[in-house]
Amino acid sequence: MKPHRTIARAVRGLGVAGALALTAALAPGLVDAQTRGGHVIFAQGSNPPSLDGMVTSSQASRNITMNMYETLFGFSEAIVPIPILAEGYTVSDDGMTYVIPLRKGVMFHNGKEMTARDVKASLERYRRVGATANLLSPVREIEITGEYEVTFHMVAPAPTFIESFASPRAPAVIIPEDDADADPGKTSLVGTGPFKFVDYVPDSHVTLERFDGYSQDGRHDGPDGFGGRKTAWIDRVTFRVITEAGARVAALEAGEVHILEAIPMPAARRLASSPDITLFENMPWAFSVFILNAAAPPTDNLKVREAIQVGMNMEEVMAISSEGLYQLNHRWQYPGTTYDPGEIGAEYYNLGDIDRAKALLREAGYNGEEFVLLTDSNIPQHNKAAVVIAEQLKAMGINARINMVDWPTALNLRLQDSGWNGWTLQMGIEPYLGPVAVTATLASPARPHFVVPDPTLDALYQALISGPTVEARQATFRKIQQRLYEIFGIVKLGDSGIMAAARSNVKGYTAFRFPRMHDIWLEG
C-alpha cells in the first residue's frame, strides 16, 4: 500500500550513509527521510466559520483553508511578499498599473487549469464578499491581458499595495471561475493548494486529502512562508474541533491527535520532558492590548486614561493571561522588525505606579464613576487579562466592574459609544502584517477599535500608506508610536506567544502562522 514507507524502513537498516544516498534519490534536495502516506489529525479549539477561504478572517478557518487554497502573493518566512500563483509583477513608473503574469500549468482540484479568467473572477468576487474587501479598493479595474496574465489599473498610486494584497488575514484566494457568482460559503471549495476538501462536519471535523495533481512551485527548494515549493507527504489530514483545552491535551497525550494548534502552558511545562511530545514555540504571536473608550466617562478624560497607563503592572497581566509565555514590549511593532520604533513611550510602560495614578485621577476629578471592563467568555486570554486588570484598577481606586459576555456580544457592544470603558483584545494577525495593518485598526475610516477618531493619528495613517520609501514609513511610524502614548486610547500590555505541540512521530513540522500540512510526514 505504501511502498515508500517500506523503503524508508529498509533505509534505516542501511545505516546513515546509505540512508542519505537513498533518500536523496527519493526526494532530491532534501536530507531527511520523508514517508509518504498516513493520516494526520490536527486539533484546534474553534469551529471554522467558513471554508470559503476569502469570506472570513478567522484563524480557525485559515488553519484549514491555507492548506486548500493559494493566493497570487503571500508572505515568506521572513514576512516579505513573494509571488505564489503569480510569476511576479511589474509596476509602471507612475504606480498606476501592475502587470501580473501567472504561473502556467497550475491545476485546480477539479482538474481544470488556472487561467487569467479564474483570477479575475476570484478577485471580483473578493471585492463583493471578501472579508477585507477594502484590500482591493486601490484597484480600479482588473483586466485580462493574456491567457496567463492580469493587469491591475489603480485608483491612485499605493506604495504598500502588494504588501497588503499578500495579507493572509482574509486571503484573496484564487478559485475556479465557476464559483465566481457563488454566495459566501456556497462555493465548491475547490482551490489550487496541496490538499483538497473531503468533508466537513461542523463542530466536529474537516477532512482534507492530498491533491495528487498539485503543481509545485519550482522556483524554490522548499516551502517558504505561505508559498514556496510545497510537497504533501501525508494522505489525509483531519482538523478536529475540540473546544475544551484540557480535552485537546488529553487527546494529544493519548495519541488520538497528532498536532495541537495551541497547548496551554501548564500542560506544555508538564510535557516538556516527554519523549512522545515535541513543543513548538511561536513567539511573538500576538499583541495583548487593552482598548479604552474615549467617548464614555470616566475614560473620556485624558488624565484618567493616563492614570490607567501609568498605574498598570503589565508584567502581572501578561504573566497570568499568557500563562507565562510572553515578552514585555511597549512598542506597536515586534522588537527588531523593520518598523521597530525603539524606546518611544517606554517611560509610560509597566510602571505599576499606583501613587502617580491616584494623583492623576485626583487631577482628573475622578469621583468613583463606574468603569465597565468589557470582555468575552470565549477567549481565555481576554478574560484572564480582564480579571487581572480589574484588580489593578481597583487598587488605583477605580470602581471597576467586569462585564463578561460572549464573543459576538462583545464585538457588538464595543461598537457602541457607551456602556463600556475598556476592552481586552489579542491582536493576532495585524502585528504580523506590519505597521499599516496595526495602524489601520486604530485610524479612520476602518477603525473598529477606537470609538473617538484622532485627527492626528488619521493624518499619520494616510502618510504611512502613501509613504514612498521604507525610511519615510519608518519615520511616520515612530510618530504614530509617539501619538499613541499621547492619547492613551489603547494600552499595550505586551506580546504573547502560543505553544504548538505535536507527537514526536510527526516530522518536519515548524511553528508558523498557520499549520502547514505539507512538508510534514509521519515516522514509524
Binding site: 472579508a131 463542530d203 475540540i242 475544551e244 488529553a250 461598537l415 483584545l425
Partner: protein
C-alpha cells in the same frame, strides 16, 4: 387506543407552538446576531450591516417569524448561515448521538437502579440496604458534569483506559463507538440511577409486604421467582413512571455531558448555535428536541397502560 393516541398527538400541537414562540422570544432578547461571527474581529459597523442585510436579519421580527412558520408548515426547518446547510439536515445528523447517549444511560440507570433497589428492599434494614441507599443518595447529589470531569481524570488521564472525549460513529467502528460512549453514558446514568434505585426500593417494599407475596413465599416458591416474577412485575408501575420522567431529564442532561466529552450531539449543536447566534439552528433544534420530549411522554403513557391493566381497561 387509537383515539387515545390521536388525542395525545393533537395535544402536542399547542405545546410545540409554545416552544416555537418562546424560542422566537429568546432570539429577540439575545443581543447581537450572527453578523459578528461571520464578519470577524476586524469588521466595521457597516460591514456587519451589509451582512445583516444579505441574510435578511434587518427585517422586523414578525416578518421573519411569519416566513419561518410558513416554511415550517411545508416541513422546512430553515437554513443555517453558519453551517451552510439546511437546519433539518444538521439536526437529524446529530440526533442519533444524543438519543443513543440518552438511551444508553437510561438502560444503565434502569438496570443498575433496579438491581440496587431490589437488593436494598430484599435486605431491608441491613447494612446492604443502608449501603445501597447511601450509594443512591450520593449518585443523586453529585453534579453530573463534575462527575464526568472526575471520570476523565481517572479513566482517561491516569489509567488511560478510555478516550477522554470525542465520538466515533457506530457505523464506522462499533468498538470505538462503545469506548467513546462508556464514560458519558455512565456519567449521565449515575444521577438517575439513584432516583430509580430509591423508587424501586420503596415500591418493592410495598409489594413485598402484601399478602399474595407472603402467600407465594409460604407456598414454598423460590425466593428469586417470587422477587422477579411476582413482586417486581407489580412494582414496575411506579418504576415505569419514574423512568418516563427520567427520560426527559436524561435528554436534558445529555446536553451538558455532550459538552464535557465533546460529543457531536444536538445539545452541543444548539449551545454552539446560541453562542454564535445561529438562530435558525436554535429554533429548529429546540423544536425537534421538544418533539422528542413529547413523543417520549406519549410512549411512557402507553407503557404505563401496558403495565397496569386497570389503566388499560379503563380506556
Amino acid at each position: 387506543m387509537i383515539r387515545f393516541l390521536l388525542a395525545r398527538l393533537l395535544s402536542a400541537v399547542p405545546v410545540l407552538f409554545v416552544v416555537s414562540v418562546v424560542t422566537f422570544g429568546l432570539m429577540w432578547l439575545v443581543p447581537g446576531d450572527i453578523s459578528a461571527e461571520l464578519g470577524g474581529t476586524d469588521a466595521t459597523a457597516a460591514d456587519l450591516e451589509a451582512i445583516r442585510q444579505r441574510l435578511g436579519l434587518d427585517r422586523p421580527l414578525w416578518e421573519r417569524a411569519l416566513a419561518w412558520y410558513g416554511a415550517l408548515l411545508q416541513g422546512d426547518l430553515g437554513y443555517s448561515y453558519l453551517l451552510n446547510r439546511p437546519v433539518a439536515e444538521a439536526v437529524f445528523e446529530r440526533l442519533p448521538v444524543t438519543l443513543s447517549l440518552a438511551g444508553l444511560s437510561l438502560l444503565l440507570a434502569t438496570v443498575m437502579g433496579v438491581l440496587l433497589g431490589i437488593l436494598a428492599a430484599v435486605r431491608h434494614n441491613t447494612w446492604v440496604d443502608r449501603g445501597a441507599t447511601v450509594v443512591a443518595l450520593i449518585g443523586l447529589s453529585t453534579p453530573d458534569f463534575w462527575f464526568g470531569i472526575v471520570l476523565i481524570i481517572l479513566f482517561g488521564v491516569w489509567l488511560g483506559w478510555l478516550p477522554t472525549g470525542g465520538f466515533v460513529p457506530l457505523s464506522e467502528d462499533p468498538v470505538g463507538w462503545a469506548r467513546s460512549m462508556v464514560l458519558p453514558a455512565f456519567t449521565l446514568a449515575l444521577t438517575q440511577m439513584g432516583v430509580i434505585a430509591r423508587m424501586t426500593r420503596s415500591s418493592m417494599l410495598d409489594v413485598l409486604g402484601q399478602d399474595y407475596v407472603r402467600t407465594a413465599r409460604a407456598k414454598g416458591m423460590r425466593r428469586g421467582t417470587v422477587i422477579f416474577r411476582h413482586a417486581l412485575r407489580n412494582a414496575m408501575i411506579p418504576i415505569v413512571t419514574v423512568v418516563g420522567v427520567i427520560t426527559g431529564v436524561l435528554l436534558s442532561g445529555a446536553v451538558v455531558i455532550e459538552q464535557v466529552y465533546s460529543l457531536p450531539g444536538v445539545g452541543r449543536l444548539i449551545i454552539g448555535a446560541i453562542q454564535r447566534r445561529d438562530f435558525p439552528v436554535v429554533q429548529g433544534g429546540l423544536l425537534v428536541t421538544a418533539c422528542v420530549f413529547v413523543f417520549v411522554n406519549i410512549v411512557v403513557d402507553l407503557l404505563y397502560g401496558w403495565f397496569d391493566p386497570r389503566v388499560r381497561d379503563a380506556r
